[in-house]
């Protein structure tokens, strides 16, 4: 699993980031996973915007998630426009065109491809120690929580990207 947080830390001086919280993938009233219970990530599918906002805030606080964050409203407009559910990454270039279209998660969710796109443009950011996927945030199955996983302690200077 890639590490969106680390990519953000590595390239935030060069690119903008936005996390968009979309409808839950494994809520308690739909397809709940055992790992959600184990990790104490148990939420019903939000029926109101207030519920979505509350879960999104729980997430960002629990993981001290550093990326700029927004919430898809109850019309699911962003989700529909980007075919985003359950998790997906895009890169939009300066001209407003899709420059990278990631696969649909969880099986084809590959943050490392976004990193490669950024590295091709701004240079590779190397880390001395290998990443430890279980080092930081509690594991979750999919979604932004998965993206928050593996927040390494390796600092990446903002000017590391050439």
């Amino acid at each position: 699993m890639g590490d969106v947080v680390q990519i953000y830390e590595d390239y935030k001086a060069r690119a903008d980031f936005l996390t968009v919280y979309v409808r839950e993938a494994h809520p308690t009233d739909e397809w709940q996973m055992k790992s959600n219970v184990k990790d104490d990530v148990c939420y019903a599918q939000p029926k109101t915007l207030e519920q979505r906002v509350a879960i999104a805030n729980d997430f960002t606080k629990r993981f001290e998630f550093p990326l700029p964050f927004g919430i898809d409203d109850m019309s699911n407009a962003a989700n529909d426009a980007y075919a985003a559910w359950p998790e997906r990454i895009y890169i939009v270039d300066e001209s407003g065109h899709i420059a990278y279209r990631g696969g649909i998660g969880p099986f084809n969710y590959r943050p490392e491809e976004a990193r490669e796109w950024l590295a091709a443009r701004y240079g590779v950011v190397k880390h001395e120690s290998p990443k430890s996927p279980t080092a930081a945030a509690p594991a979750s199955t999919t979604g932004a929580a998965a993206a928050a996983r593996a927040t390494t302690s390796t600092p990446a200077p903002a000017d590391a990207a050439k």
């Binding site: 990326l67 409203d73 075919a83 998790e87 899709i98």
Partner: protein, 88 residues
């Protein structure tokens, strides 16, 4: 003819069971296979966007629950990495 339909129904049934077994294996359990079919597959779409497409706009709610902004407000000066996901 009656025999033909019996064989057809039998083969179809065996294929269905085999497909569910494979899905159960992939998903982790029969319960997960059902969950995948019932709740995941209807929502998973490739979409029509391609590299080079205009990035769609959408109104986004800020974490405070009241402020709004648009995705395209965040584009223009630098590349924008859009990460979609949920908590669970």
């Amino acid at each position: 003819m009656n025999r033909f339909w019996k064989w057809t129904a039998g083969i179809f049934g065996v294929l269905l069971v085999a497909a569910f077994a494979v899905l159960s294996y992939m998903a982790g359990s029969p319960k997960d296979a059902y969950g995948m079919m019932r709740y995941a597959l209807p929502h998973m779409h490739r979409g029509t966007l391609k590299v080079g497409s205009d990035a769609p706009d959408a109104r986004i709610v800020a974490l405070d629950g009241t402020s709004r902004f648009h995705i395209r407000e965040r584009t223009g000066e630098r590349p924008l990495v859009l990460v979609f996901g949920s908590f669970t």
